[in-house]
């Protein structure tokens, strides 16, 4: 894992849950929630959990106004770029509109080799159900963030309906897109309930739904 | 002796007697709209939008499909109709209280989007229907039931000039202010309306004809004195003429 992981993708692809899972599983120093798109179900609502795990939460609402929908970008978001001791995950809002916040930090990024810019894909999201749509999305994300995508995360799922075949179908379509773009699948996230012994592309991780559980 | 009819009531209006006061110029303006639509053969493909004010009943008078709008909202209603029925001819018929006050946002944004509609704007510088209150277009010094000492600039600002204002909106295409106080001006006003509906037929965008109008009852004058008062007082503040003609590449007249 590189020192900094930035998660992007379509909204509802699972970025926030993955960000929390990565932060906890890899004992990162900070989770930076830069979601200016969604008003709810943002990784910042797992503040207590993150802090209990010693993870600093930096987020895009003005302090003490967590319920607001102001697209405020905390200056603290630049810390991991500036301080090379920090290991962090960035959680962007969905689509190219969510990815454009990265422009705010462009001038602080010293070493691009330390950054993984990963696109989270769930092929059961209608906007990313085909390789050509995924490829087009990558182009848009790169254009608005001005950062090169370095890989994919296969998070293909239908929540409680997920089974092995869905993960495999996701991998098949994602490999088609990844092959065209010459990019790796860096992680495959597998729903907690799917007890599988199969190995999927990249690092295989279990996905615990911290946010969904918290709400309903 | 053989005769030839040189002027007859237009088929663009229904047979219902108009609900306007004697000598009110609404009737003349209605007639012009009806004549233009009839002569252009557009009547049976037109939707009129009646507004709130004295012309609230105008849906009874225009001999075409009509929808009645809430106060000020006629341009939004027209937008809804035109967007789903782009081949229909769509016009709103609005007074100055309706268009220049409560409906300011709707008229500016309809023009701004370049909606391909025609607006018939009747400016008589007063709220007629509700009993002669001050309108945004009421002249300084003009007495109304809510400016009993005469409109005062310090309290209420200066009268709004809508044609001039809309000429600054990039999306508007054709704007002309006309009057109907005598046959010569009536002819000119009819030409302006023809032009406005031409603009719509050619899908060139937003057109508005502002009519200087009268309100004999609320102004407290005879119909003929009202016409003279409009000529002497309204027209100097609201000069007649074309304020924008973007069909000629004139974007900011």
């Amino acid at each position: 894992m590189k020192r900094i992981t930035i998660l992007t993708g379509h909204y509802g692809s699972g970025k926030s849950e993955i960000a929390i899972n990565l932060a906890i599983q890899d004992e990162l120093n900070a989770l930076i929630d830069l979601d200016i798109i969604n008003p709810y179900f943002r990784s910042r609502s797992a503040r207590k959990l993150l802090e209990a795990n010693g993870i600093e939460l930096i987020e895009s609402t003005i302090e003490n106004s967590a319920g607001s929908d102001l697209p405020f970008i905390s200056a603290k978001g630049s810390r991991p770029f500036v301080n090379s001791d920090l290991r962090a995950v960035y959680d962007l809002g969905g689509t190219k509109h969510g990815a454009k916040v990265m422009m705010q930090f462009r001038d602080f990024i010293k070493n691009r080799d330390e950054i993984d810019f990963l696109v989270v894909v769930n092929i059961y999201r209608p906007e990313t159900d085909q390789a050509k749509k995924i490829i087009q999305m990558v182009e848009e994300l790169e254009a608005t963030s001005q950062i090169r995508v370095t890989g994919f995360i296969n998070n293909s799922n239908l929540m409680e309906y997920t089974d092995e075949s869905m993960i495999e179908e996701g991998e098949r379509i994602l490999k088609e897109a990844a092959g065209t773009l010459n990019l790796p699948i860096v992680y495959t996230f597998i729903e907690e309930h799917v007890k599988t012994t199969k190995r999927y592309a990249g690092d295989n991780r279990v996905l615990i739904r911290y946010l969904a559980k918290q709400w309903l | 002796m053989k005769t030839q009819t040189v002027y007859k009531p237009t088929g663009g209006l229904t047979d219902r007697p108009l609900s306007y006061c004697p000598g009110c110029t609404h009737g003349i303006i209605h007639k012009l709209v009806g004549e233009v639509l009839e002569e252009k053969g557009l009547l049976d493909e037109t939707v009129a939008i009646a507004s709130v004010g004295c012309s609230v009943m105008s849906y009874e008078f225009f001999n075409c499909d009509t929808q009645q709008a809430a106060h000020g909202r006629a341009p939004a209603v027209a937008t809804g109709i035109k967007r789903v029925r782009p081949d229909a001819t769509v016009f709103t018929y609005q007074g100055d209280g309706d268009l220049a006050s409560i409906g300011m946002a709707e008229i500016v944004h309809a023009a701004h989007r370049g909606e391909n509609i025609t607006v018939v704007f009747v400016n008589n510088a007063i709220y007629g229907m509700t009993g002669g209150q001050m309108a945004p277009t009421t002249l300084i010094g003009q007495k109304t039931t809510t400016s009993p000492r005469g409109r005062d600039q310090g309290n209420t600002g200066l009268p709004l000039r809508m044609s001039e204002l809309l000429a600054t909106v990039p999306g508007s295409t054709y704007l002309e202010r006309v009057s109907v106080h005598d046959p010569k001006h009536i002819r000119k006003a009819k030409k302006a309306l023809e032009k406005a509906f031409d603009v719509q037929e050619k899908k060139q965008g937003f057109s508005m004809i502002e009519f200087i109008s009268t309100c004999p009852v609320n102004w407290g004058m005879t119909p003929n004195d009202s016409l003279n008062w409009a000529v002497d007082n309204l027209i100097p503040y609201y000069p007649l003429g074309v304020y924008k003609d973007a069909t000629k590449g004139d974007d900011n007249a």
Partner: protein
């Protein structure tokens, strides 16, 4: 010799007099001896022979009560 004539829908006339002022040959007036169905004093032509069929009266009439005919030679 009249060049034409006007036909007035007496019962629709609101007696506003706008036509009276616009008539270039001054042949229109209100009949103040009577009222029509609506209660207005209706329009009459006091000297039809002078009508020039100019249509000014009809053009200015807000209530479309006037039809204008021109005499044509056979």
């Amino acid at each position: 010799m009249a060049k034409g004539r006007i036909i007035i829908e007496q019962d629709l006339c609101k007696g506003c007099e706008l036509c009276v002022y616009q008539c270039p040959v001054h042949i229109l007036e209100l009949d103040t001896s009577t009222t029509n169905a609506k209660g207005y004093t209706p329009l009459i032509v006091n000297d039809p022979e002078k009508c020039i069929a100019c249509s000014f009266c009809a053009m200015i009439c807000p209530d479309s009560v006037i039809t204008v005919e021109r005499f044509v030679k056979e």
